[in-house]
Amino acid sequence: MFPKKCPSCGNNLKVEKLICNNCNTEIRGEYSLPLLMKLSESEQKFIIQFLLYSGSLKKMAKKLKVSYPTVRNRLDDLQNTINQFIREEEGDNE
């Protein structure tokens, strides 16, 4: 699992170095993780399933053998988490 939080202090991690596998070129800097990568593994799985079921919560609920509100609540929680990340990013940029 890709680490997102510092194991020492729990703060958000940033990308400092990227390497080209072909020519070993290194790019250094301070890059924030893309928004989707900041999500937990289960949240990322949810998004993938959501796309695979063409965005149909009904179909998703049926396949996952849970009720429609369960999937709906998960989507609401995910929206809140994403909004929180967006607000944090906007705060960092200011």
Binding site: F46, Q49, L64, V66, S67, Y68, P69, T70, R72
Partner: protein, 209 residues
């Protein structure tokens, strides 16, 4: 998300697995059976979670009591949730899970068939109010009464818990807001239903004879 069905989880929150038309149909079937038992035993659900014995009423009244309690409470929960949150949810889910939450009340009705609550009422009337003829309670009557009352109490607590769970889960309101609004709506509903059952219904002689 893709978790296996777990009966313990189902008891704690059945609405994680069941909502919509399925919950509505199951709830309506149980409501009908409960109304039939209530009719045969003359048990009235004359309030949101009230259970009383009273020897009157047509079958329609017993069905009506169950449906009115469910619909009035659901409508008030709907209004309440719309006031305190903008979260969008399916109205069908709120109504269907609310009727599903009332299913355990059938146990209270079944208990009335086994436990001599009626005999106990007559005993109280004779012993303390000098009404009716002399009546004696046996040891078995006492055991059945205490067990019956305890089970009924647990059933009522569980029904209230399920009603709350339905409301908080379907509307996805934060816990604090959900608890406070649920209690307020519960009290308002009980007040309105009591007015209906004690004043409006008898005055208009609706469904009583």
């Amino acid at each position: 998300m893709n978790e296996e069905f777990n009966f313990k989880h189902f008891l704690m929150n059945p609405f994680k697995y069941l909502a919509g038309y399925k919950a509505l149909i199951v709830g309506l079937i149980f409501t009908l059976i409960t109304a039939f038992i209530n009719y045969s035993e003359k048990i009235h659900f004359d309030g949101i979670i009230d259970i009383h014995y009273n020897n009157y009423g047509t079958f329609i009244l017993f069905i009506g009591e169950n449906l009115i309690n469910w619909i009035v409470f659901s409508i008030l929960l709907l209004i309440g949730s719309r006031i305190i949150t903008k979260i969008d949810y399916r109205v069908l889910d709120l109504f269907s899970t609310q009727i599903f939450a009332r299913i355990p009340l059938i146990m209270a009705s079944v208990l009335y068939m086994i436990v001599p609550f009626n005999k106990f009422t007559k005993y109280i009337l004779w012993r303390y109010l000098d009404k009716g003829s002399e009546i004696a309670l046996t040891t078995l009557d006492y055991i059945l009464l205490i067990t019956g009352m305890l089970i009924t109490f647990v059933v009522i607590i569980y029904v209230i818990y399920l009603m709350y769970k339905s409301y908080s889960f379907i509307t996805n309101i934060g816990k604090k807001k959900a608890v406070i609004s649920f209690i307020v709506i519960f009290i308002i509903t009980e007040f309105l239903l009591k007015i209906f059952y004690l004043i409006v219904l008898p005055v208009n002689n609706l469904l009583i004879e």
